[in-house]
Symmetry: C2
Subunit: 347 residues, 2 copies
DNA sequence: TGACAGCATGTTTACGTAAACATGACGGCG
DNA sequence: CGCCGTCATGTTTACGTAAACATGCTGTCA
């Protein structure tokens, strides 16, 4: 009960139990232990029992390094990302981890604290040294496009949030369609035009949403107001809201995510504008809290779990096929969830 | 450009480049390659250059499985958790990943989708087979206390969100003190008593917050209203809010997290109760959005980054010391952030 | 009855790396 | 002038596993 787990008295370094130890105790060869350990047939049950007993007694656990060396693969997928703080990323990672686990793969996280060229390069270098069979990149891939940065050869890659579909396998939410639904919803309600608070310039998702917003307005022949630049944070949404509230000719805003929409709600409330009667607001993401904003937020639902799931599927396909998967973009559909933050404009 | 990366025409299995290949090309022994690869001294610069050139040409990457086998460690920390969806967990994990990376360690995530005994057991079994030097458990440790589940021997453990300080190294936010600050703040404002919306029963953090809430009220000789049970979600906070709004003798509520506080705000708003003039609300966590709720939420700030940091520190201490770290609880302080959701009661 | 199939188990080897030890060349100093 | 220390580099070995091959025993059928 007090022992450190090592039976060796005063044992200075815990020597892990190997097959050879089990074999000795069970009085068999280590190959037989291997067969038992891997559930291979051709071991008589009495022998098997003996081996299992020895394993239990010694607390044997297979050494995965040796296994990986032998098999040439690690059963591990690396996930490179910039931040776990955003709802989207953490939910996607969670789905990746869950589905990977179901397939017998573990997930290794490689965070990049500041997305400088150097850091990204460093992460990829580290990645190369890491024990991973494949990599999922949840990040703006164009950060990697300077030519100096190369993904390690022989490592399978799937990318999220990127337009690199011509070179990599890409999985992403259908950003453009989601944004179109949001803007059309507002136009359908009778708004003359729709303002937009963008995500950060560097985000491809943000770019796509902004692009679709602009496209819908143009198609409908509506004036395109200048975009307000945000950075995903509620604070930036709040700042944008203060700007929009000032000359109150804005009746509808599409925020590129729910948190900025929250900032908008707060700014409008502070300035005495009623949502949705004075201004309609639509968000993007459908974070769980969105239904409990005041008023409940109309927003575009993203299926992060599905994105994660498809990433794992694609990456496993690549691993199993052996070759690099063919490039291409796999879009996960979105769906507009209409709640209380949108309404027809006051006449 | 089209090749799979393997120079072998029709090569069916990508054979990774090993030291031996580099050595052959550079015309040296593989040991010299090893020395160059690890930056050891005692290699003349001309030789070094030759080796480096060969590495570049072949795209050599060290095989971490072989390395791990050789060294007996993986430079990897496993993180077992129940969900990444909560702000707290994902921020903690992010901090863990960042600090671990700075120390040359990678993070392997082991998610547990449903916290049944079986799943937890499975995760720990898998853990034993995984390539990790230590484990950080972000979860209710009492799920493991039935005796059937054993952490693999020889693996170092640090636990978050638990009272298992007598058996494991525990790092946690000072839940009790945070809750005390919240409740005292409300009492100091003149509220006769404070209601409480709890976290899930299974959460130790939730239990602690509830316990401290009760203790402060008792110490102050105030009546202790029945707790309302929540599950961290905004929805459960909303449900609690509807209950509290009905017989409006409640002037102050302490919610065990910010999302439930959001639900409360919405319920009160819907019932025409003004926050903070009719009811004061305090949350817990200080999620980034809390400052942009309507009204801005008074809440207890948790330093998740610090929790993650200390986890990594402790775990590395254990790895380096070789022995299991001594049990004990390391508490990270909290701080009350007063915003607009609290005020003195209407006389 | 002998030859051989089938089966349980043992032995050899290779995976890629790096520590430990071995070699050999060169130079300085007694 | 020869001995030895130093330094660059090569050779051997071990890490734990599992495939491939080897062994030896049992039972069956011609």
């Amino acid at each position: 009960m007090e022992r450190g787990g090592s039976g060796v008295p005063g044992g200075r370094r815990k020597q892990r139990v190997s097959m050879a130890d089990v074999a000795k105790l069970a009085g068999v060869s280590s190959q037989t232990v291997s067969r038992v350990s891997n559930g291979h047939p051709g071991v008589i049950s009495s022998t098997r029992e003996q081996v299992l007993a020895a394993m239990r007694e010694l607390g044997y656990r297979p050494n995965s390094a040796a296994r990986a060396l032998r098999y040439g693969q690690f059963n591990t997928i690396g996930v490179i990302l910039f931040s776990l703080s955003s709802t989207g990323n953490s939910r996607t990672v969670e789905a990746i981890a869950t589905h990977a686990a179901a397939e017998g793969y573990a997930i290794t996280l490689i965070p990049i604290d500041v997305p400088t060229q150097d850091n990204v390069l460093g992460a990829f270098t580290r990645m190369g040294e890491l024990a991973v069979d494949a990599v999922i990149v949840i990040m703006e891939i164009h950060l990697l496009d300077t030519g100096t940065v190369q993904l390690p050869p022989g490592v399978h890659v799937v990318v999220v949030d990127s337009d690199a579909g011509d070179r990599y396998s890409v999985v992403d939410t259908d950003q453009a369609d989601g944004a179109r639904q949001a803007v059309r919803h507002l136009l359908d309600l009778g708004h003359r035009t729709v303002w937009h608070v963008t995500g950060p310039q560097a985000s491809f998702a943000g770019q796509r949403r902004a692009h679709a917003w602009r496209a819908v307005l143009r198609e409908a022949g509506r004036p395109v107001p200048p975009a307000l630049y945000g950075d995903w944070s509620a604070e930036s949404g709040y700042a944008a809201g203060l700007v929009l509230a000032d000359p109150p000719d804005c009746t509808a805003v599409f925020a590129a995510n729910d948190q900025m929409a929250l900032g908008l709600l707060r700014a409008f409330h502070e300035r005495g504008l009623s949502v949705p009667y004075d201004v309609s607001v639509v968000g993007f993401d459908d974070i769980p809290d969105a239904a409990f904003f005041v008023p409940p937020l109309t927003t575009v639902h993203q299926d992060f779990a599905e994105v994660g799931h498809r990433c794992v599927q694609k990456v496993l396909e690549q691993i199993r096929a052996g070759g690099g998967g063919q490039p291409g973009t796999d879009l996960v559909p979105t769906r507009l969830v209409v709640r209380g933050s949108t309404a027809a404009p006051r006449c």
